[in-house]
Amino acid sequence: MTAAEVVFALLGVVAVGSAVLVVTTRQLVHAALWLVVAFGALAGCYLVLTAEFVAWTQVLIYVGAVVVLLLFGIMLTRAPIGRVPRSGADDPLDSGNRWAALAVALATAAVLVTVLVMGFKDAYIDLEAGGGGAEPLGGSLFRTWVLPFEVLSVLLLAALVGAIVLSRTDIGARDEEDDGEGDG
């Protein structure tokens, strides 16, 4: 095993482990924080794979924005803080679907791992530093992939507008009982 593989393995373990904790912990805020750890470990993985730009973008956006948003969401929905004890059928965190979900997840894992390992058992990644830097990636982004990039900005605009519209409180529900003249 090369050094890269060792490091990658360790980072992978951290990522998967914290992911497991995200989906099993009984404390909501801790879930978000374990998510941070997972994202961070993944950023490390990207670094090992020489994709620096992606790694930093990951940290920036995921850890910086997404997790914050999630924490805001936790706060705004009055989520229970602190350890939530298990309470059977109406547990606020885990649904009754747990065991089916576990089965499906294990099956998925088994299938995917098996298939992928069988498929790529002879593939070796040649790690050369510099392939994922800002310059080559930016050049590729603004030359080859500029159209999806622009479309993506429109998508972001749409998402922005949508989020604002959805959260406006002065637009009420449509009145059902009266005649349906429809309003603007």
């Binding site: 649904s95 679907n97 089965a103 499906v104 099956a107 998925t108 299938v111 298939v115």
Partner: protein
């Protein structure tokens, strides 16, 4: 000759259809008054004739009583038991003259109105012509005896062909003449009797159809053609008995008659098949020719099966229970069907195929035993009946049994002689009884009495009829009954019987005949005394029946009186001294006994002297109840079971499919939980499975 016979059969047939389709139109054509002006007739004893205001109420009570009393009195509510008397007549009732109801007016004017009465003309004229034709045929056969056959066409069936043909011989000609004569009398009588009936036109048409069918049976040359006529008679009798179907009891009586005779007819048909297949032909001549070549088993089987049909149609034990209840039909119907013609068809068939029956010991024995049981049982039952028509009905069963006994002891000529005589005098008795019922407004003996002076013609005619029934010289009944008794005596004492008949059976028949003669005399005397002598037991207008009713009655009295002398030509039909003496003694014993009982108290019913036995006799030895328990109840239970299976099994299966589909849908509906996570779980599980499948298989 054959042509004339065919024409005689065809005319009433056409008259039937013409009457059914064109009857009222013909009346209008001839300028008759529209029938709506007449009062609504008959059937419901609630006498709705416009004239009978306050009487109508009393009327309905009377008729309701009449229906109730014979019927219910403690036994099960099966309506077959009711004497169904009420429906026979719309009932004018006594009292102040204004109650002389529209019925009398209608009856009296029936004769005057005849030329304008479409259905009556369509019924009577062809019948008269047919009678003349039958007479010509009979005279021709008498002068030149022998069998004449004629075939219209051969129907190919693939195996044994059916010949549409007629066979006229002495037997056929004689019986056909009797049928035509009685039918004509009945048609004329009905014009007055049913004058107020709205459905007279269909009634007359059915009587014509019936006559045609009976003539087909009589003249038929082929067994299956005979069967066709046989069945048509059965259907017509159903329609005619149930003529006043507004009363439930009448339609039930009609259904009962139809079902019981049908039961016999199944055996009859199979017997025809056995005989026909065995002989290789269905034509009667062919069967009789090939009879010696048939194996004994075939002959026995065929004749026993044919006896089933005979028992049904000729009302012998055990298929006789329909006849008393069939009195629910109008009286002329009883006269035609249940005295002279349809019930005689069975006896006629046995006589026609007599060679086959004589060859089979079992058939003769069975016939003899059935005859014995029927004749004694029904004679005893007749002794206790309260309704005049039921007395005559049981009497018919008894006399038919005498004819059957005659056949059993090897005297077909005697039996046919009695058949013809019985046709005349029984029809006479029934029609006269109809006149009595018309006048008194009731069929119950306990409401008659003292009619001797009021209804002279009817009185004398009925006396002749009863005398013939009892067998008093010099009327026809004496000769015919004595022919049978004589043959039985000779069969028993001197062994002159068909070789296959066991001696014991012959003795049994002989003794039973003598006993029956005694009981016959008893019930005939009882009816005669209660109707015509003593004081009137109920109030009714004392007058003779309308002329169109009395003339046919008087006309029938002539053959009833004189027919006996026509038989003197044949040796077996002459009276035998010993048997004549024995039967006269027996008759005298019966009649005198009843007279003595009656004389003690003329107002009471002589049958009261029977004591506790009276009830048993009156209910026909409770045979109806036995049948109800043995047959009707299990069949009904089976029907209910089938219904239950149908409803709970088949219907439930069909409905259950709907229910089960809905439930299955409900089960499937459970997957629509609304919970997205479960949807996704399923989705992903499926994807994993597919992925595994793809990987494994590809």
């Amino acid at each position: 000759m054959i042509t004339l016979a065919a024409l005689a059969t065809l005319l009433p047939f056409l008259a039937a259809f013409a009457g059914m389709l064109l009857g009222p139109w013909t009346s209008r054509l001839l300028g008759a008054a529209p029938p709506a002006a007449q009062a609504f007739g008959t059937a419901d004893g609630a006498g709705r004739s416009g004239a009978g205001g306050p009487e109508a109420g009393e009327l309905s009570k009377t008729s309701a009583e009449d229906t109730e009393t014979p019927g219910t009195a403690g036994t099960s509510p099966e309506p077959e038991k009711t004497s169904a008397e009420a429906p026979t007549m719309p009932l004018p009732v006594s009292g102040p003259e204004p109650a002389a109801p529209a019925r009398y007016a209608a009856g009296d004017s029936a004769l005057r109105g005849l030329p304008r009465n479409g259905p009556a003309l369509i019924a009577c004229l062809p019948m008269a012509v047919a009678t003349v034709l039958a007479l010509i045929v009979a005279v021709a056969v008498w002068r030149d005896p022998g069998v004449r056959t004629g075939t219209l066409t051969l129907i190919p069936t693939g195996t044994i062909d059916i010949a549409l043909g007629l066979r006229v011989d002495g037997l056929a000609a004689l019986v056909a003449l009797m049928v035509c004569g009685v039918a004509l009398a009945v048609q004329l009588y009905s014009v007055a009797y049913m004058a107020e009936d709205r459905r007279y036109s269909s009634y007359a048409a059915f009587i014509s159809l019936f006559t045609a069918a009976m003539l087909l049976v009589v003249y038929s040359g082929d067994l299956l053609v005979l069967y066709v006529g046989w069945e048509v008679m059965g259907v017509c009798s159903y329609f005619l008995i149930g003529h006043h179907w507004q009363e439930r009891a009448n339609s039930r009586a009609a259904v009962k008659a139809f079902l019981i005779t049908r039961l016999g007819d199944v055996g009859f048909l199979i017997g025809i098949f056995v005989l026909g297949v065995g002989a290789g032909t269905f034509s009667i001549g062919g069967v009789l020719e090939r009879l010696p070549d048939l194996p004994q088993g075939t002959v026995t089987a065929a004749t026993l099966l044919l006896l089933a049909g005979v028992a049904g149609k000729s009302a012998q034990f055990p298929l006789h229970t329909w006849l008393p209840d069939a009195m629910a039909g109008p009286t002329p119907v009883s006269a035609l069907i249940h005295a002279a013609t349809m019930v005689a068809a069975g006896i006629y068939v046995v006589a026609r195929l007599y060679a086959a029956f004589a060859a089979s010991a079992a058939a003769l024995t069975v016939l003899g035993v059935l005859a014995v049981i029927s004749m004694l049982g029904s004679a005893l039952a007749a002794l206790a009946q309260d309704d005049l028509k039921r007395v005559l009905a049981y009497s018919t069963i008894s006399q038919l049994a005498c004819m059957a006994a005659g056949l059993a002891v090897g005297a077909p000529a005697a039996a046919i002689f009695h058949l013809v005589a019985h046709g005349a005098f029984k029809a006479l008795l029934f029609l006269a009884a109809g006149s009595v019922i018309f006048v008194t407004g009731s069929g119950l003996l306990r409401r008659h009495g003292g009619l001797r002076r009021a209804m002279p013609v009817t009185f004398w005619a009925m006396t002749i009829g009863y005398a013939a029934l009892v067998g008093l010289p010099p009327v026809s009944g004496f000769f015919s009954k004595d022919a049978i008794v004589g043959a039985a005596w000779h069969a028993a004492a001197h062994g002159e019987r068909p070789a296959h008949l066991p001696g014991g059976v012959a003795w049994l028949i002989c003794l039973a005949l003598l006993a029956t003669v005694a009981v016959t005399a008893a019930y005939a005397t009882r009816a005669w005394l209660m109707t015509f002598f003593g004081e009137p037991r109920a109030a009714f207008p004392a007058r003779e029946a309308p002329p169109l009713m009395t003339w046919p009655v008087a006309a029938l009295a002539v053959p009833a009186a004189l027919l006996g002398f026509f038989g003197l030509g044949a040796p077996e039909l002459r009276p035998h001294p010993l048997s004549a003496l024995l039967s006269l003694l027996a008759a005298a014993a019966g009649a005198v006994a009843v007279y003595l009982v009656w004389n003690r108290d003329p107002a009471a019913d002589p049958a009261g002297g029977l004591g506790p036995l009276r009830r048993v006799f009156e209910r026909g030895f409770y045979l109806d109840e036995v049948y109800a328990a043995l047959v009707v109840r299990p069949v009904r239970a089976a029907a209910r079971a089938v219904l239950a299976v149908d409803r709970r099994g088949i219907d439930a299966a069909v409905v259950g499919v709907a229910g089960r589909s809905r439930r299955a849908g409900g089960l499937l509906r459970r997957t629509q939980t609304g919970d997205v996570q479960t949807y996704l779980t399923g989705l992903l599980a499926g994807v994993v499975v597919i992925a595994v499948g793809v990987v494994v298989l590809l």
